[in-house]
Amino acid sequence: MIAQLTLIERQHAIMISAAIALLGGLMILAGRDDLMGVHGALISAASIIMIFRIGGSYYAPPPSEDRLRHYYDDPSKVGIVLSMMWVVVGLAVGDWVAWQLVNPDLTFGAGWSSFGRLRPVHTTSVIFGFGGNALIATSFYVLQRTSRARLPDQVTPWFVLFGYNLFCLLAVTGYMMGITQSKEYAEPEWYTDLWLVVVWVTYFILYLRTLARRKEPHIYVSNWYYMAFILVVAMLHIVNNLAVPVSIGHAKSYSAFSGVQDAMTQWWYGHNAVAFFLTAGFLGMMYYFLPMRAGRPIYSYRMSIISFWGITFFYMWAGSHHLHFTALPQWVQTLGMTFSLMLLIPSWASAGNVLLTLNGAWDKVRDDATLRFMMVAGVFYGLTTFEGSFMAIRSVNSLSHYTDWTIGHVHAGALGWVAMITFGSIYACVPWLWKRERMYSPKLIEAHFWLALAGTVIYVFAMWNSGIVQGLMWRTYNESGTLAYSFVDTLVAMHPYYIARAVGGLLFLIGGCLGAYNVWKTIKLPGTAAEHAGDLPQHVVLGAGIPQAAE
């Protein structure tokens, strides 16, 4: 990989790594009496390892000009491998905390393994580690192909990818040490947040630079979704994390917002993170890999445009539905509820687009587990967005909020939509990237598919039951007008569902492990199909039909 870099690029990479190592050194000095010093050491160590990695191949012969004739796919390859590593870690920690809820002794008494610390490790690993790496990797892949242009240089994509993983690592290790600013999905402290801003702005500029070099006049819809994902996440991240640190050598900071403003800013961030991190980016993935894998264009390109702008207009305002019955002004709550309902239009337009694209190709869905992953993702996307709009209605929310129903809803989206579309896209893209005929084992993909689907269904049904039981018990009164059940009564009632949820999660985890193994074995497969497998081995392998008209 380093041999692909030109001498100048190797030098740039070393200089950037050295600058980051220096920054880590300064953090060790400034934060020597604080946990921040530990993170300084981690940053320095990571960048010094990087310098040695590059240095080891520094004198390798320079790459030939021939490299410019091909897309630059090395960062995508590494991104996919990292993504599969994060998913195994993230799902394993997730299942561990699920069992902790069944049996609290499973923390084994350590501080770092308490539920409150491991739970954000789970969410960050799966959302940012798994999802984020998959988004970065596929965005580079899709961007180059739909623009028919190569990435403008070979250092920036690595900076984005490794810089982003450094962010994830700082976040996750921080939680276990107790570093958190207690904002859901935005837990990392100020210096980690600043680092992500640098990485993210670089990512956006890289995207724009590549688009500026495009040879295809039209910007394909996937790129719009990916760009919305990058741009809006930057905006959300910067505003929600505005904070003042206690001192420059101290990890702790205080938010610039307080009270209900803080809550509103947090849920403006939180819900738009769902919208633009967990939806827009993955829709970008879907709008490229689904037509490619099915061998037919998207059913309605017009519908994809309408849903793109619908999502960008409406989602921005939906966050306040997280704050029904709070100190937030009633009209802001109503606004959030109304926009959440309107979101059904763009959401179902995309979900419908998935199913209508596959309409007429159901034989492929039956035979090809990879395509089936994408189909099921579309179905769960439709179901979850319907459920989300429904739960945002104030009277429904009075029952569902603060209960496990919310957890069920989130996982229907995260497991059913986000993870399924990602696994489908990865299974489609790995053979194309590594120039293999196909994945190492189609049987393992099949097994992964059924484990993932069974795990998701068990998880979601367990949490629906648990949530509604919990919500109803909380609002049941006896004749004298006092609450009929104590909090502990509800815990006892939820216990069986917690066991079911942990079992569902375990199935999903086993599926993820099979996926990681399958990807690894595919990479290690001897012999490439490079001679006849271009970017579209799909056509070669299946002899897929001629693309049909879009509408």
Binding site: L68, R69, I305
Partner: protein, 56 residues
Amino acid sequence: MIVEHAFLVGFSKSFGLFYLIALSVAVAIHAMKPSNKQRFDEAARSILRDEAEPWR
């Protein structure tokens, strides 16, 4: 400058409503305009062209 609560509410209830409606109408017209149909169909098919290399 102090922005009154009532002003903000009034602004978001009036302008906020209409600019979103206007944007939605504009997008719907852009997407559904018959003269754009060919462009969009072409775009939908563009990714399926079998090309393994960037254009130079």
